[in-house]
Symmetry: C2
Subunit: 370 residues, 2 copies
């Protein structure tokens, strides 16, 4: 996997550099630095640029042996709060750690950016600083979902970058999702499904039928399999690898799944506390339950990836602890190693180019630009 | 509760009559009759009109002691299959058990209809035979959802009657959902939430903002509390009693929740099969696990209710077994006893009337018609 060599110019390192926004998460910079330390220990091939309050960060990093040599600190006086309005951050956010973290990717100093901060603001700043890939109308956020597939996860997008998507957008999501599944999950020929209220051809909204036609038309060329419409119940199934939907539906589905899992685990805990016998049973069942918990631990699937920009941004959960941050960094590293940003751009560009294969006089070919 | 007396004219009975479509479910008429028998045994106040193949039904009913006296059989030569197109059934379904079951409600012979059959066909036939309540543009399907609330359930609608809903439709869903929560769950002042991708005022689609204004304006008069926007994670929470959304989003959320619960229970089973020790643990944990399973058993929350028609129809899950069918019948009975159909109609009509309080010359009052 490391044959690619690193793509950055940091002197003295064959390292992949990850740019980390250390501020703005619910648990503050201590959790982020602890996550960085976990990743650094596990993987010697990562270097970090860490953005935030330098005084605080220096102290936190100094506490972990050997971490200081792996981290470059960028002092940023301001933090984007969770309730900040994206439009406000876009206009006034230049001194924030979030802005600085994205800037490092824009400058080519780092390959991928990781942040636990405000999703809306992170997307807004990513859009204006990294800009959209030619051919992409709406960027998307892709998440991983525990599933029955051998790898243990499916991909779903968009889970909240944009509340609307037309047929063309859904086609782009399919292309971007396929590219992500190839580079992030190692699937050579991902199976794509379009989320709908039934699997029959006549079901659903008009834009879904139009999107289905477009996606079918690209499947062979873009090297994915289209499995047709899928339903909510298929999201954790092994029928499909990538679930394509608009950001409104995807966000509701993601949060509904998380909420259901949370309810069940709470009820399970209560069930085991019910009587002395059940408490004993829980003790015996602990290993089994831990095995299950590991399988569906939201911290292990931490990291929504922003797709469709000139640069990759991984959004870690706002409440992520060290394990969660470390999982997001691992994902960022995997994507950086695979040259994901460039491959995704090439994939979308080739789809756009082929759309213009037979240019009409009114619509000149612009394939060369892409 | 029984002070209402029965609303039907069946001679010799102070019984509430439920019309049951015995055909069209995945498990055939045997499961449906077994469910009827369970309900009949538990509740002496229900009488049944059972629709389907009379020869088969007579035999099945005769096997259960005392059931024949409680059931009137209506012979129907045809069955609506699961893959039948709703439009085809609307044109050619007159001889089906589904049609006949709805007809008994239309005629006033029964108060509520229960069917395990094809949802789309059931809604289509219900629409043309029972017709919409004046003031309702789109009927809705409401489902129950296991939650942290004291009663154990929340209501969500629409979960699939219609894939679109505008602001006015969402207001009607709020009114109908409040009425259902009052009569089906016994909540005097239900809390209503509007499903969105965030709880902040500025989030989401334009029609949701418009719907929010309409719903806020009706809350006092219709005696419900509006809690604002809710997210997917709130659906199983105790923040809200009734979740209002369009049928596309609601259907995806419902199936996503079911799929997540199924995945977790499968993984739990596998975790407990992992080793001899974990199998022993499972044995000890059995009571605790059963307690949990009962709490989230989809059979116990079986029954989507069609709202907005002149008559109440309960859609049981296609794969429902005797317990599931019996749960659907119990729900039908509760709604029948509360005079739900009439109360819902009155509620919607009063909302429509008050909308026309100050008629303009261009838009003459039609409050008298409603």
């Amino acid at each position: 996997m490391a044959t690619d060599t690193n793509t950055t110019q940091t002197p003295g390192a064959r390292r992949t550099i990850i740019s980390v926004d250390a501020m703005g998460g619910d648990r503050g910079p201590a959790a982020v630095v602890a996550g960085i330390a976990q990743s650094a220990e596990k993987n010697p091939d990562i270097g970090f640029i860490v953005h935030g309050d330098a005084k605080v960060l220096k102290k936190l990093i100094a506490r972990k042996r050997g971490l200081a040599e792996r981290c470059e600190i960028r002092d940023c006086p301001e933090v984007v709060t969770m309730d900040a309005k994206p439009s406000h951050v876009m206009r006034n956010g230049k001194n924030t750690s979030m802005w600085s973290a994205i800037e490092a990717v824009r400058n080519g100093e780092a390959t991928v950016c990781v942040s636990c901060g405000n999703t809306g603001a992170l997307m807004a700043v990513s859009m204006i600083r990294l800009r959209k890939i030619p051919g992409v109308n709406r960027p998307a956020i892709a998440c991983l979902w525990p599933s029955r597939n051998p790898g243990g996860f499916n991909v779903m997008l968009d889970v909240g970058a944009d509340i609307r998507a037309d047929a063309e957008d859904l086609l782009q999501y399919a292309l971007m999702g396929a590219s992500y599944a190839r580079n992030g999950l190692g699937l050579t020929r991902p199976r794509i499904g379009l989320l709908n209220v039934g699997t029959e051809e006549h079901k659903g909204r008009a834009e879904l039928k139009a999107a289905q036609e477009l996606i079918v038309g690209k499947a062979a060329e873009a090297n994915f399999e289209y499995v047709g419409f899928v339903e909510g119940g298929d999201i954790p199934s092994d029928r499909v690898d990538v679930i394509v939907t608009d950001g409104f539906t995807g966000n509701v589905a993601l949060k509904t799944g998380e909420g259901t899992a949370r309810l069940i685990s709470e009820l399970l805990r209560e069930a085991f506390k019910f009587s002395p016998l059940s408490r004993l049973a829980a003790l015996l069942a602990l290993t089994s339950l831990k095995r299950l918990q590991k399988r569906i631990d939201p911290r292990r699937v931490n990291g929504g990836v922003f797709l469709g920009l000139n640069g990759t941004v991984v959004k870690s959960h706002g409440s992520a602890d060290a394990t969660g941050v470390s999982a997001a960094i691992k994902l960022a590293f995997t994507l950086a190693q695979s040259g994901f940003t460039e491959k995704l751009a090439a994939r979308v560009a080739s789809a756009v180019t082929s759309r213009h294969d037979a240019p009409t006089p009114e619509q000149p070919a612009n394939g060369t630009k892409e």
